[in-house]
């Protein structure tokens, strides 16, 4: 177990290191320079001063060593488009908003997805089952930002029930968090449905029933507990999905989170911010994948780690 965690952590660190290297040299290989946009009539002296300030006058390998060293110390440098704000500041300012939305979406996905999955797996009524399956198929295959857009038109524009932009009351959270969780709700519905179905056919379920255990208890204690494992394993990729989803959902609903910041930094060609946020997102996803794998292994002793 410990060996596995250490191994995964090492792979994770190597991945991050490679990602940071690609990001660094990629950004350096880009044509043009970040200051050209700000002032076309900059004097050579001012330009040289700027280059010195950002350390761009040094040879590339030296810049690389400096950058990596700084990143190791949590210093991602200063944003180019937002004067005086470091990338770390921006992350600290914006991340809580995204985190709040993400946590809400996470629990909606788990709650609603499990509920649908259980109903669909246990129901005797065919139409309930086919309704849920159809909804889940649509939710998985249709891009969630398009569904979000349709929801915006329906509830925000046509019916006027919910506000569309900003985050000042609980009502503002309704559309973005549902939009963000749509595809993961569908995934969890599908996963929990098929795994619960398999589990309910196992011998130990028959045994529990024949001992006279109440049906509800059989489902919760014997069925769900075993059916949950694929859901836990999925929660790592699901987290990655929520992070990626936040890019578009936050842009769409003007939520001042880190996803919207990322798209903005790309539009502004704010290279230091793009680099910092890419590494930040990458690290987040790697850690979450690791955590979900470990949790799954703890819950289910049958999983052999390191295989």
């Amino acid at each position: 177990m410990l060996k596995y965690i250490v191994k995964r952590l090492l792979v994770g660190i190597v991945t991050l290191f490679i990602l940071a290297t690609i990001v660094f040299f990629g950004v350096k290989a880009m044509p043009g320079n970040p200051f050209a946009k700000q002032d076309k009539f900059m004097s050579p002296e001012a330009y040289a001063a700027l280059e010195r300030k950002y350390g761009l006058d040094k040879p590339l390998t030296e810049q690389y060593v400096i950058y990596m060293n700084n990143v190791l110390h949590g210093d991602f440098g200063e944003s180019i488009s937002k004067k005086g704000q470091t990338v770390a500041d921006i992350i600290a300012l914006r991340a809580p908003v995204t985190a709040k939305l993400g946590v809400i979406a996470f629990f909606i996905s788990i709650g609603v997805g499990l509920l649908f999955g259980i109903i669909s797996a246990l129901t005797k009524k065919r139409w309930v089952n086919s309704l849920i399956t159809t909804l889940a198929t649509i939710g998985v295959s249709v891009p969630s930002f398009l569904l979000a857009m349709l929801a915006m038109i329906l509830f925000g524009v046509k019916l006027g029930w919910l506000p569309l932009v900003g985050l000042s009351s609980w009502k503002h959270y309704v559309l973005p968090s549902i939009a963000l969780s749509l595809s993961s709700i569908s995934m969890i519905t599908r996963l929990s449905r098929s795994s619960l179905r398999d589990v309910m056919n196992e011998d130990y379920i028959t045994l529990a029933r024949s001992k006279g255990t109440k049906e509800l208890w059989v489902v919760i204690k014997h069925g769900l507990k075993n059916a949950l494992i694929p859901v836990i394993t999925y929660s790592g990729p699901m987290f990655a999905g929520l992070v990626t989803g936040s890019l578009v959902i936050e842009t769409l609903f003007s939520v001042p989170g880190i996803g919207a910041e990322f798209t903005q930094s790309i539009t502004n060609r704010d290279y230091t911010l793009v680099m910092g946020l890419t590494i930040f997102f990458g690290a987040l996803v790697i850690v979450m994948n690791l955590v979900s794998d470990i949790v799954a292994a703890i819950v289910d002793p049958r999983i052999k780690l390191g295989k």
């Binding site: 249709v142 398009l146 524009v157 992070v243 990626t244 842009t251 990322f262 996803v285 790697i286």
Partner: protein, 310 residues
């Protein structure tokens, strides 16, 4: 023990009627593998609908821009934000451009990106996964670690970086999508090859003296074709999704290229005044992606029943 010998004479025998003469022959029409699969695929209504829709979409993507009297950039200033009519089937946008033609032009770009990336992924995935699974051992270990490392980072980050470095044209979009999506294919192929290479026919081929590349391509990959086709079909919608997603947020393709995501993005500010305009590109993306998913599911089911029957 009876001493009596059974006497055989002509009366005991009866001539077999003609229709029973062939009872031991297989009378069911013999089908090729693809015919068999196709017959089962046809029974799936959703998958069939998807196939018809995609073919119609491809044909109109090719021919509508050629034969339409409007260009995708032609403006009709007297007719801006028009509602759907006989003149403009889907109406016109804020610059008076025909939305129907633009959506069909967008289909060219989106479908091209979808199908060509899937094709590139097929080649890379089969070669990489095939080698990794067939050679095995240390080579396999290293190749899989490389995949783990690439896969750990969300696709979107790569796409964004590549677009930043190489500019936001269609070529770099395809490169960026391919960079990570071939992995799914490679893993699938590797898993198949790993189990197939243990089977007798692979051993038989080796005994006859077939070369490694022949065993891999002519025997193993051909037998893994089913899962490969399913995986391949699913790659098209995911590429279309990634492209439209990025263009929709405004960090995808160059603003002058009217892909579906870009069209939806253009109409975004108008959802309060002309919500109908954004419905068209959204419907195009949704229906295309759904259809492709149905086709993939359909093929998957058609091939799996084969397995279940054996």
């Amino acid at each position: 023990m009876s001493e009596k010998v059974l006497e055989l004479n002509q009366d005991l025998f009866e001539k077999l009627p003609d229709e029973e003469k062939n009872s031991e022959f297989i009378t069911v029409e013999s089908k090729t593998f693809f015919k068999d699969t196709w017959d089962r695929f046809k029974k799936n209504k959703l998958a069939l609908f998807g196939l018809v829709f995609i073919i119609a979409m491809i044909l109109s993507a090719i021919f509508v821009p050629i034969f339409s009297k409007y260009g995708y950039e032609a403006q009709d200033m007297m007719n801006r934000n028009a509602l759907p009519s006989l003149e403009h089937w889907f109406g016109t946008d804020k610059l008076g451009r025909d939305i129907f033609v633009r959506v069909m032009y967008g289909a060219r770009i989106s479908l091209m990106i979808g199908f060509s990336t899937a094709l590139i992924n097929l080649v890379i995935g089969v070669v990489y996964g095939g080698i990794s699974g067939y050679v095995g051992g240390r080579v396999d270990m290293i190749m899989m670690r490389i995949i783990d490392i690439i896969y750990a980072v969300p696709t979107l980050l790569y796409v964004v970086l590549i677009l930043l470095i190489f500019g936001n044209n269609i070529g770099s979009m395809m490169l960026a999508i391919c960079l990570t999506s071939w992995i799914t294919m490679a893993r699938q192929v590797r898993a198949q090859i790993l189990s197939l290479k243990q089977q007798e026919f692979a051993l038989a081929a080796r005994v006859i003296g077939a070369s490694d590349s022949r065993i891999l391509l002519k025997h193993l990959v051909v037998n893994a074709l089913g899962p490969i086709i399913v995986c391949e079909t699913m790659m098209v919608p995911s590429a279309i999704f990634t492209e439209s997603f990025l263009s929709f947020v405004g960090i995808g393709l160059d603003p002058t290229i009217p892909s579906w995501g870009k069209l939806a993005n253009d109409c975004r500010p108008l959802i309060f005044t002309y919500p109908i305009q954004i419905i068209w590109p959204i419907a195009a993306i949704c229906l295309t992606v759904l259809s492709l998913n149905f086709i993939g599911d359909g093929i998957g089911e058609a091939l799996q029943t084969k397995k279940g029957r054996e």
